[in-house]
Subunit: 322 residues, 4 copies
């Protein structure tokens, strides 16, 4: 039975391009057409760049053309400041490649997600920590010009708090602030437990409908906003259906010698399995998340790493802002 | 020496129309032309409505035509829930008069001010507590239509936090949300200590440049936003210059029998006094605020009263939301 | 295969006495010795009181003698203020039965859990909202005596934030404050998804080691603290192993006609199933929680209901504090 | 008229020893007996150490024997990360001199003050940012022993929030945690505006009754707690009476050529002036604070500097924790 098809039918959106790609490759056993993958190792950290180069790649991976950079860093979860600093520097280097900065570049950082629900609070926490400078250009332009870029930052909240779609808030803002780049930060939902708190994804393709924990219904892309949109995310949850699915997989792999079971575990019975998993998750439907107890530390660590990387890549002249 | 002229020269903006009016009346001893005042007593609470009816009134009071309703309620500061409830009901009644509601009315509540500085956090605190309903009309219109009005609510932050002028954020939002009313909540600066935590001001004239603790540089008015703008505020601070001024006043009133002092205390010497006060406030210029130690309780009490009044006046069918 | 034995082996602690009781009754099909159960229906709300009357009951249910009152209230999750008020009144009535109040009774309310992790933040949120009065007895005894009881309230934080065991903080406090009652509020872990956000548990037996999301290692009981300890909790999560277990259960119930499967699903194979579930949850061990996306609303609603119930039952003379 | 006597009569407590000392020296024009002062300049920063060496010194300065180290650093207010880092290092060096650390030293950091009132939130903000390690010694002693010291940290809240005296909470904790040092962090009230946000005070004499914005009524000292108590504070407010007093001073210094005024401004008339100032501050008594509008930035900057200095001095082996 195909995991990718099953996830689709159970409304499990996998935010990481690298996971979507692994899913496909694992199932077909060959290269995915229209997609190029590159790997790089830096000490304990590995960086995988997946580039979707054409329509075909867009279709199979279900996301738009562009670069999806995944930093695998199991030590986000550890409380090792030296490693966090190195991680921030790696992220900053990749960010710097996506940003074409000059003296007048203006950047709007958007912290997506719900600050009242810890697993979804990555974006707002980064916004709290990032260096905001746009207003200084009004007051003391001589002090900042050449040393800093114009940065504004806002956390628009979520629909349940404000009654307004995130995209509505951001569209309105972009029309007034007129940034060259929007950088959107978001908590992500992974397809596998091992991704929680161990991965940073960076993409130059914007935020797409259906992604993020809060399932934004409208996208934030260059097409809709009229400026480049860069997305940074860290998986902090998996959908609970992932646990149900893994349990089924483990059960069948354990019992594969049983012919009667092998028979059940076939394409034809996909709907049976979906029903079993749905029952296991009732009375909730798609809205259960699985998250580690220490999610507050995870959010704290990753928001510090991302804020530091943003400061480093946007204001390379300022060396010591934490 | 005229207090009104002195305040202007020292950059002390008085947010309360009722204070501006008292200042003028006190100095001239007669009715202010172009301005109508009405008073009403409800138990321990008195309500003063100042209506600026023409250009002349606009000029002398330094604010636009419209209604400025001041509720004098010394018991905001007390922890008496029964009195707070009555106060919320009085405020709700006056709000209801300014809002022409029908089934489809859409209201955007804006919490002005800085949530990280307690005396300036009234607006954001009200937004946290108010009932937000606009998104329910997408999901369960049959449940809410006829029982609730569409309410969205946002706290845009302040320039120092976001790098974006509040007015820029709100203009962008209004273009997308297209509300019939914007209701802006703000912490105010009073001209007199006795106003702190004892007064609620309600106006149908919007927020004007230079008002509020954060001194918004651009206004939020029907003219700029294209919809009715109602403002609600509570004084939580006075500018420290007010203390310096009161000290001078008290000193001279104490010593008025001294002819040499009487001589000093004249129009001609206004600049001398301004210099004295400025020295007393150095090295700070206009940025010192005076606030009670218990400002957190004051913000907590007044935000609950205002949120309750908003819920009562906007959704009169819902009787028990706190 | 016994669910109760399986849960034990997988380190799944079930906080609700009513669940532990159901588990046992379901498996044995008869009354549990040493335990008395009573049910009461009030409109849409049902209240189940489980009383453990002797050592035998203590042993089978794995918790100390005393009363465990479970309020089943599916409408905690709904945003219906009228129903929340009724729920608060029901809880207040049961609380009042456990508290023997006189004019001088002193109560210490303890908000257990981690305010930085939303699903675990119920206790701290209640402490924020509850009426604190103990200091008023120093300042204005004549105003409060006879109208209020002495209430102090604190959120001690969790080990990861403070480096101090919760029980150490509370023991120290109790020695100084010398309350007649400690009321401890905590987010709970349920054994079944249907309990999340639909149940309030009230017990007069204190908090026991191993309970709560944060798995307190030391108990808070009359024995250790020297005063009566009442516990109030709402389930906000289940351990992720519960999802894995339910998936297995659903799978087997679906396929029970298969004789080869029926054979697998027996006592002897318990360890096989435990291994399957553990693999499904790796690389995490016991530390994954499952929680609804809207956990912030759940915490907000339940903390308001509990704070209101505390105020109503402790200060019956004050009728309108929200 | 003596400022020191006037302040006393108006209940203005001056938290900084260096100010108390200046007051005395300014008035008497000679060395203060029982007190030794030393000065050191490090770039833009000057460090003044005042040591009270005997009973006589205790009496004149109104505080106990010991060292009061004042770091004058006008750049706390600037957003210059390089200067903040240098400041943290200077503070860390002086802290290290007061702490006799060995491998097993245990330190309890106490964040005094009210987290809900920004000017009073310095202590709680430092506690949020400091590295807490005591619990790691239970779990992974081999990883931390020799590299870290045992640090626990708590913000006990204020009387108005908890109903419990801060000293009661801390006494109870110290009995259980048994630290070698308590380090208490607090927002301070200065005697002069120029001290706000420009000064850090470090003392090895504990916290004394009547000090701090919240006016702790009971002290935290070696005598009461049974362990060394170090206090770190930053002035974030002045009492509003300071503004009134400065206004009077400026007025008289401006007009000193007036013989009639010179006459008024004498010891005999002290009470007249006190009455004038009290009227200028009515209807408030001692509870008005004056604070800059940007107090949130001040608290943010100084809490980061202090947390960094604590980490640096307590765990010198860990070089890069921010």
């Amino acid at each position: 039975m195909r995991k990718s098809s099953l996830f689709k039918k159970m409304n499990i959106y996998v935010d990481l391009a690298v996971e979507a790609h692994e899913l496909l490759r694992g199932e077909t056993g060959r290269e995915v057409s229209g997609v190029v993958m590159q790997k790089e190792e830096i000490g304990p950290t590995s960086v995988t760049t997946i580039t979707i180069i054409n329509k075909k790649g867009e279709k199979v991976l279900g996301r738009p053309k562009g670069n999806y950079i995944t930093i695998d860093a199991p030590h986000i979860k550890d409380n090792n400041p030296q490693q966090h600093k190195e991680l921030a520097e790696i992220l900053a280097r990749h960010l710097a490649k996506l940003l074409k900065l000059n003296e007048d570049t203006s950047i709007l950082i958007v912290g997506l997600g719900n600050w009242q629900a810890t697993p979804d609070a990555l974006g707002p926490k980064v916004v709290e920590k990032v260096l905001v400078t746009r207003h200084l250009f009004h007051y003391t332009p001589e002090d900042v010009r050449g040393k800093m870029r114009k940065v504004s930052a806002i956390s628009p909240g979520v629909l349940g708090l404000t009654g307004i779609e995130t995209a509505e808030v951001i569209h309105g803002l972009v029309q007034h602030v007129k940034p060259d780049y929007v950088i959107a930060i978001d908590s992500l939902a992974a397809g596998d437990l091992s991704r929680i708190g161990t991965t940073i994804q960076l993409a130059d393709t914007g935020i797409n409908p259906g992604s993020g924990i809060g399932n934004h219904r409208k996208g934030l892309t260059e097409e809709t906003l009229g400026c480049k949109v860069i997305a940074i995310g860290v998986p902090t949850v998996v959908n609970a259906a992932v646990i149900a699915h893994r349990t089924v997989e483990e059960l069948f792999s354990q019992m594969e010698s049983e012919p009667s079971l092998a028979q059940i575990y076939t394409e034809e019975n996909e709907q049976v399995l979906i029903n079993i998993m749905k029952k296991a998750l009732s009375p909730f439907q798609d809205s259960l998340m699985v998250t580690p107890k220490e999610v507050d530390e995870l959010i704290d660590n990753s928001s510090r790493i991302i804020a530091k990387a943003l400061n480093l890549s946007i204001h390379p002249e300022i060396t010591d802002y934490n």
